[in-house]
């Protein structure tokens, strides 16, 4: 069981690295979808394959929302605004990919220093959750297209979700569902905002929005 959780964690890290290194927005959306599905399976794996109707429904909701609904929304947004790939991010792809493992090392150190109130399932989970949050933040600050920033936001939320998943036993699933609803609304709103930015300015480069006066 320990090994399967570790494998999921390594998959998450690899997907984060892919997000850091890929320029095609379509592929990034697919990677985020895969990450959502992986995270959906995580609660089932953590609770050791015991069939529990509430847990199964929760898992299905996560997979449905993060694996299917968000990516569909984002693909539509991508098609509408006609943005195929991220052009010239603030920090290049090569540097981002190398920054990834270094950030992971920092997160590992952080995870080992952090005293936890209760036992967690695997020592890997904490650092990976931190790392996912950091990757999300990194994507938000280093990319120019609004769409990539929305992806970064989802990745950030994935990190928080992983964090909560490990610390929480079954009780706060309700809280988790609440967060999920917030994120859903946020992604929905951001999709609309991106569409409007694009219709108004013919592009979704957020750094060019700083000089709105004209």
């Amino acid at each position: 069981m320990d090994n399967s959780i570790d494998t999921i964690m390594v998959l998450l890290v690899l997907m984060n690295l892919m997000l850091l290194g890929l320029s095609s927005l379509g592929t990034c959306i697919r990677v985020v979808a895969a990450q959502g599905i992986t995270l959906g399976i995580l609660p089932l794996v953590i609770h050791g394959g015991i069939f529990d109707i509430r847990l199964t429904l929760f898992s299905a909701a996560i997979v449905g929302l993060k694996g299917i609904v968000f990516p569909l929304l984002l693909s539509w947004a991508m098609r509408d605004v006609n943005a195929q790939r991220e052009v010239e991010p603030f920090i290049g792809y090569g540097k981002s990919v190398i920054a990834g493992p270094l950030a992971l090392a920092v997160c590992m150190w952080l995870g080992s220093r952090l005293p936890l109130p209760l036992d967690i399932v695997s020592p890997m989970v904490m650092p990976v959750a931190f790392f996912t949050i950091m990757c999300g933040l990194f994507l938000i600050v280093s990319r120019k297209k609004a769409l990539s920033q929305v992806l970064g936001y989802i990745v950030l939320e994935n990190g928080i979700y992983t964090f909560g998943m490990v610390l929480a036993e079954k009780q706060p699933l309700l809280v988790e569902l609440g967060i999920l609803l917030d994120v859903f609304v946020a992604v929905f709103v951001m999709g609309i905002v991106i569409f409007h930015i694009n219709r108004e300015f013919d592009h979704i480069d957020t750094d060019r929005l700083s000089s709105l006066r004209s």
Binding site: D6, V10, L14, V97, P101, M108, S112, P127
Partner: protein, 303 residues
């Protein structure tokens, strides 16, 4: 020092050109052709050894020394790599660094002799080769460092002997990452397809082929031989990780390693038939990705 281990080097010298044959046969099967004979690389090398060499007036002794020193360096590197049931001929602390830099010496001599011709075209190839190998080297060394940390040894033979089926049981993610990174390094260092196309002679896309354009006869034979040996060498390190059979029965270990090499050649052939060459600008990204995988494996092992 284990004298019987000289068999590793003999095996490498005897079987390395066969890897090329298997790769080419796999590609031929995919394309629906009959393909070259499996032993074609041996025929090519023996044909080249019977020919005379042509030297340009602008070249110096560096050009003539390049292929021979390169071949000798790669051959010397084979004594540090264990294969199948046999440990390496020489094993001392830190020998994996020596192995890597023997390969580095071979590359350095190839680059020097390419520059010695004075052709700007070969200089371009040399520049590309050095750039890509500089990116591939950290990936390989960090991966080896991760294995050293995992097994607690810093010599190649005990390092590879320390990996067995049980370690795949509890450190599967780290070992898989290292295996993947080494595979990318193997493809890059041997100029196989996502990085370089060994068949092409199209000017702008070549990396390795362009550096050896001026070599002829026995020199070219040495170059081809050392490139097959290099494939064999990196392949046997990779196979030591992903086919870790250490039963103690010599025959079983060696046969499973040989089957692993056969499988590796087939996989390379399949990749060459199904993938296209990457654009030159994307190759560094691929190699940086491999480095990231190695660092990730090291972090996993260190925790």
């Amino acid at each position: 020092m284990n004298l019987i281990s000289i068999a590793n080097s003999v095996l490498a010298v005897l079987l390395a050109p066969l890897m090329f044959g298997i790769i080419n046969r796999t590609k031929a099967v995919f394309a629906g052709r009959t393909g070259q004979p499996l032993l074609q690389a041996y025929y090519d090398i023996s044909k080249l050894f019977q020919k005379g060499a042509v030297y340009s007036n602008t070249t110096t002794w560096v050009f003539r020394a390049g292929p021979i020193v390169g071949f000798a360096a790669v051959l010397a590197a084979t004594v540090f790599v264990p294969f199948g049931g046999l440990p390496a001929l020489f094993a001392f602390k830190g020998d994996f660094v020596v192995m890597v830099y023997f390969l580095g010496l071979a590359r350095f001599m190839t680059v020097l002799s390419a520059l010695d011709t004075g052709s700007s075209f070969e200089g371009m190839g040399a520049s590309r080769e050095v750039t890509f190998s500089a990116l591939a080297e950290p990936s390989f060394l960090i991966g080896l460092a991760a294995i050293a940390k995992y097994t607690g040894h810093i010599s190649l033979s005990p390092m590879l002997a320390g990996i067995n089926a049980a370690s795949w049981g509890h450190a599967a993610p780290a070992l898989a990452l290292i295996g993947l990174a080494f595979f990318v390094v193997l493809l890059a260092e041997n100029c196989r397809i996502p990085v370089d196309d060994p068949n092409t002679h199209l000017e702008l896309t070549m990396i390795h082929e362009v550096m050896v354009l001026d070599h002829s006869g026995p020199d070219l034979g040495f170059i081809i031989y050392s490139s097959t040996l290099k494939l064999w060498l990196l392949g046997s390190v990779l196979i030591g990780i992903i086919v870790p059979v250490h039963s103690g029965i010599f025959l079983l270990d060696t046969v499973s390693s040989l089957l692993g090499m056969l499988g590796l050649a087939v996989v390379i052939g399949i990749i060459e038939s199904t993938m296209a060459r990457l654009r030159l600008l994307h190759v560094p990204q691929l190699l940086l990705g491999a480095t990231a995988l190695s660092i990730l494996a090291l972090v996993l092992v260190l925790r």
